[in-house]
Amino acid sequence: MINELLGIGAIYFLTLVLAWPLGRYLARVFKGEKNLLDFLRPVENGIFRLSGIDARREMSWQQHLVALLTINLVWFLLAMLVLSTQGSLPLNPDQNPSMSPDLAFNTAISFLVNCNLQHYSGESGLSYLSQIVVITFLQFVSAATGIAAAVVVFNALQTRATDKLGNFYNYFVKSLTRLLLPGSLVVALLLAFNGTPMTLQGKQELVTLQGDSVAVSRGPVAAMVAIKELGTNGGGFYGANSAHPLENPNYLTNAIENIALVIIPMAMVFALGFYLNRRKLALMIFGVMTVGFVVLLAPTVYYELQGNPAINHLGVNQGLGALEGKETRFGAAASAYWSITNTVISCGSVNSMHDSFMPLSGLTQMLGMMTNAFYGGCGVGLLNFFAYLIIAVFIAGLMVGRTPELLGKKIEAREMKIAILVTLLHPLLILAGTALTAHLYAGNPTEYAGWLANPGYHGFSEMLYEFTSASANNGSGFEGLGDNTPWWNISTGVVLLLSRFLPIIGPVAIAGLLARKKYVPESVGTLPADTATFGVMVMAVIVIIAALAFFPALALGPIAEHFSLY
């Protein structure tokens, strides 16, 4: 057990050590200062020339958003087209069929919004062409979209009054060429050398030692797994995602993948500090995020190492913890650690099956997605946190009777309205979606019997988890849910769309509005935002808005199940 705890400690420490310099590097990249990969500039210029883009043209926040949404629309159409015709397109050695329209809609949206709500299983649901042209492609560009939006906010928070916030295509392309592509190349090769396949050949038929005939699924796995983690998308090549022993062959690859998925969200926080030259502010944000992360992590590791009390009653040896849905090579601790990193970061890849975790671990996983800002997804985690920050500044300002200001810009009613709308959207989508579905199910349990794999409280948790995951753009699931039906495909598809683009549009709009305002130098009358006291304030806002809103729903699911089991 000590080995296992040391293991997760080492993974966290390594992530932190790597994220700090990466943050400094990212700040230099996006400020246009000299950096390590400047030799790629001709490549970037080539990309811009071929696309007919002038990457030096400054954009207002509205122009940024129009550019962002337009290119996302193009990707959606491309994805729909390929998924619904993949059966007759090339690179399909296993002869997998085309997707039904509602499944194609759900899959296209899901990856477009950097989520991975996979209502299919990779081995039988996608051709290699779809795996590469739809899934891998969207994993790159959707992550870059999130990072670019966060950089627009960085730019807007500088101490000057302006309308010009840099060029969207510039930020977007540089996120790819300077970060995601080189990073993925390194991770993919590390995986390939540890046994992850990277081939275009189909399944291998063989006869096992005992004499059974099996076919082993292969494919261009390494390339995709690298970007699925680094871009915090999480969509696995195989159905079992990173629990699959070819997708994640050993403890080392598990550590590499786990570091890869946390590193950019962490580095973006540091990058904010370096970019604005406000390191203390970045540390305050990082501190709040880390406290939230650890509070969710500790009970999960504890309960998973303790094992399932119902199995303890059988009188067997459960010394290694709860192992249903977990792999021997990772163990209970590293599985619990992975599940929390993946839910706070809206990555959604899994190395163990969340459905089989202890009830309170399921609760912490859901809380990670409900707050959705402890580190958070590539770029967007910081945007969510920014909305909480605005609300905290406003409330704190009112409490002490000072004008609410953030970084020398006044926060007024308009910004506040946007921030509140964005943060309340999340509980609305989750709770309304779950309520509606539970209503449907309760009205006709026989017709919808295929939805739930588990009875009672746990069944309710499965539905709640699915909408939480969709609204957080996470993509993991309590996979017992029979989710490839028109109701789930369409309802979660709509939730995904709303919960991706509104939380990007809102914070970018706030930042754009702030950027225009006159800069008021900090004085004794200013409420400092980079102190521990203010950190506590932000945490309180997150707890009240994000966590408490969900308490009644959580009481019906995981909390009730906990008390029935312990």
């Binding site: 090769l189 082993v216 089991l565």
Partner: protein, 183 residues
Amino acid sequence: MKQHLLPAFRLTLVLLVICCLIYPALVWAGAQLAPNGGQGETISHRGRVVGYDNVGQKFTRPEYFWSRPSAVDYNSAGSAGSNKGPSNPEYLAMVQARLDTFLLQNPGVPKAQVPAELLTASGSGLDPHLSPAGAAVQVARVARARQLDAAKVQALVAQHTQHSLLGPDRVNVLRLNVALDEL
């Protein structure tokens, strides 16, 4: 929006070439240097490939070490966990049944020594490993079925146990069974 549509379209085409052609090609080229040319490591026995190092297999005969239960019955063209919740009565009955079966087929093993991993399905359904305890509890049965000295089988298990500084110790079931057949 109109002025962004054409650049968006062209940029998408350029990025498709970079992300979907050049990037995978680079990874593929690098993977050619990896063990077995990036196709996953395989294990051979008596001149034929009997499986992948990293893909678990089903073993039901008493002379082999058994892998963990699997929700997909070790069908390596698919992969999944059971997704059973911890309080599901049907699931707990299944665990109890697996325990009863195991005790019946391994007479003399006390219940308290049976590790829970042998009663619970893995996340992928293709878990290639057992913990040392999961192998140890099967030694007596395997030795009896093969008419070998239990100490010899025990030594083979010890030899195939992979220790690591971080993370759990484990035994690769297929490698262990191949070694048994080669004794």
